[in-house]
């Protein structure tokens, strides 16, 4: 096989952007041969930016068409695992948009199906292509900052308007989207957090629903987490603040990293803090430190980078930058955050998926059905600036 034929299911905002990117020949070795959507208007738009792709209104028909060996899933969140499983059952490769799903039980099933299928399984964590996050990961995982101590991420520049929330019937409802900021905007950040710093063993969270907007889900969340090695993490996010902040700080026994405004700043200690602490004789002294800065000319290939890497993995066995299995990690954190907020308790990780599912179902039952759209946004087939890493 020298190229991969992919079908995209769900060609709304993000799906149409992927479709246009692939159809314009941007991704070497990847051909868009099919698109699928239940909305005929969206299929009609696709005829314009992806004229060579066959159109389907039923997912099953696209899967059975013989036109694709890979699918890209860009439908509302609840459907991600089921659609992935259907594709795996037919021996296809799967790239799913984030989040991997809404609750861990369904994501675990998807991961199991992926293992059985043995096919390439990716997830669209495009922010992993950002060189600054990659550098931070290298410094942390490579031991340059020593034993991890603290992470603080203030990621409050995800501002969204009421009009945004009104623009899709599925948006910002428990039954439609499965959550608010933690399930839509923050999956990138939650994934990066665990990708760089590891998974915590327990957390407490406060999630405020409809604080800044007329929505039933959370538009603000504060998470405090603890690690087996004693490290702590604080994660603050909101869609109600402007201009907001995007500042990540990671401290370890041998140094500190701060990423803000497109710059990575790295303070490296000449001696580990723990060693210094118990050997210093001067009560005012601090360990010696050197300072370095890293910046990057670009913010990485983002979505197209993930698409290319996914294609290379299928054709050449290239290692996936964003394996689909990893999706379970960030969804575990967000599920745990919801559960902690709802029960006002600590939640241990790995999470009790059954317990979360029961609580989620209660909210879905009481979920308000929104009118399908108040103002439809017309998918333009561009990768929007708001989907990239924004400082």
């Amino acid at each position: 096989m020298n190229h991969v034929r992919i079908g995209i299911v769900g060609i709304g905002n993000i799906g149409s952007a992927h479709a246009r990117c692939i159809a314009s020949g941007h991704i070497k070795g990847l051909e868009l041969t099919a698109v699928c959507d239940i909305d005929p208007e969206k299929l009609a738009q696709a005829d314009v930016y992806a004229p060579d792709a066959a159109s389907f209104s039923q997912y099953e028909d696209m899967l059975n068409s013989g036109l694709v060996e890979a699918v890209l899933i860009a439908v509302p969140h609840f459907l991600h695992p089921d659609f992935a499983i259907q594709a795996f059952q037919r021996g296809m490769h799967v790239l799913t948009e984030k989040p991997s799903g809404v609750y861990t039980l369904q994501v675990e099933q998807m991961n199991q199906a992926a293992v059985r299928a043995g096919k390439t399984f990716g997830i669209m964590f495009n922010q992993r292509t950002n060189p600054l996050f990659q550098k931070a990961r290298e410094l942390v995982r490579g031991g340059r900052i020593g034993k991890t101590k603290r992470l603080v991420w203030i990621i409050t520049n995800w501002y969204r308007t009421q009009a945004y929330y009104d623009s899709g019937g599925w948006r910002a409802t428990w039954s439609g989207e499965g959550g608010g900021v933690l399930i839509n905007q923050a999956p990138h950040n939650l994934d990066l957090w665990q990708w760089m710093f590891g998974m915590p063993t327990r957390l407490r969270a406060v999630c405020n629903a409809g604080k800044y907007h007329n929505i039933e889900v959370e538009d603000e969340a504060a998470i405090y987490a603890e690690y087996e090695n004693g490290a702590t993490a604080t994660f603050l996010t909101s869609t109600g603040e402007f201009p907001g902040t995007n500042r990540l700080e990671i401290t370890g026994d041998r140094g500190k990293i701060v990423i803000e405004d497109g710059l990575l700043r790295f303070w490296e200690l000449g001696i580990s803090e723990s060693e210094f602490c118990f050997s210093a004789k001067d009560t005012k002294s601090v360990p010696p430190v050197t300072y370095q800065e890293y910046t990057s000319e670009n913010s990485g290939p983002a979505h197209s980078g993930i698409l290319q890497n996914f294609t290379d993995a299928i054709l050449n066995g290239t290692e996936l930058l964003s394996p689909g299995y990893d999706g379970l990690n960030e969804i575990s954190i967000s599920n745990a955050a919801y559960l902690s907020a709802w029960t006002n308790q600590w939640v241990d990780l790995p999470i009790d998926g059954e317990s979360f599912y029961v609580h989620l179902q209660k909210r879905i039952e009481n979920s308000i059905k929104k009118a399908d759209t108040i103002q439809k946004t017309v998918p333009t087939g561009d990768y929007k600036e708001r989907w990239s890493v924004r400082w």
Partner: protein, 386 residues
Amino acid sequence: MNKIKLGIIGIGNMGSGHINNVLEGKCPEIEIAAVADIKPDRLQWAADNIPTAARFDTAEAMMDSGLIDSILIAVPHYDHPKYAMAGFERGLHVMVEKPAGVYTKQVGEMNEAAKKANVIFGMMFNQRTDHIYRKMRELVQGGELGQLRRTNWIVTNWYRPQCYYDSGAWRATWSGEGGGVLLNQCPHNLDLWQWICGMPVKVKAHLHFGKWHDIEVEDDVTAYVEYANGATGTFITSTGDTPGTNRFEITLDKGKLISENGKLLMWKLEQSEPEFSKTNKKPFGSPKAEFIEVETDGKSEQHVGVLNAFAGAILHGTPLIAGGEEGINGLTISNAMHLSAWLNQEIMLPLDEDLYYNELMKRVKTSRRKENVSEIVSDTSGTYNA
């Protein structure tokens, strides 16, 4: 020139630091007429460095001597209210080093006594003199940036090595100091936080005790608070991080402020976010924001500023930097953080003072005697994070 006749109670790090400032001529309206300390070697230091000051081995003897009209209390924390009240009883003006005390019950009593005494009563919150904090208070309290939404203070540049904790038997024990980073380094920050943003109504804090050091009290804190108007806040501090961070961010519905690295940055929205949200129809619209690096007067008089204002209040009736009765505010937050961690629950304010006192005393009872103490008096200039 008219001078106040100040008596210093406690000539350790802070007491001797204040004396040195006066000796260097920075406080023209203050004469250090007397000093008191229970340690003979500290009285010897006073004899060597400020021979003109009368020396006493008890604070009471000094206060009864007739030589002073005011006192500065710089003894270990538990005794702050006791000596303040002794001063009030004798009609002396009182300046108290931070914290006001260890638990709010004793500080409440001190505040009551102050009211009745009708003397000048100040707290040594020297960081209130800082040009950036003063400006922040003006901008937030003045209302031009709207309603408070979020406060975040990462103040982890309070690094201390183990030898600092070993340098005094009273340090970092429940019975001696009454707490760790919250009681020693952070009273400044907690006071500033409430002075600028107001008091929270709910506190949930995660404390770690002796995490980075061999001590029984807290050296790592992550706290989450809520305010009456629904705003939220986080406060993160430690004496175990280095190089550490000092970044204070305040978000309001019409703007944002960040104090870091000696600069105050401001974003001001053309219209408040709620106003914008009401009329905006564009899904991906956003309010217009202007970015400004705020100009300030650049002054930070610190301890000297507080001392001079104290003298000024006594001699001329001019304002203090921080009224003594305000010390209870920051201490309330700190007590609530301890209580929240001890009981593993969120604490509503006003604080249950008796509950706090009882929980504290439990820990005082089992407080350990420190063994490896090498008593050191240090020149603490440069360690105040001012």
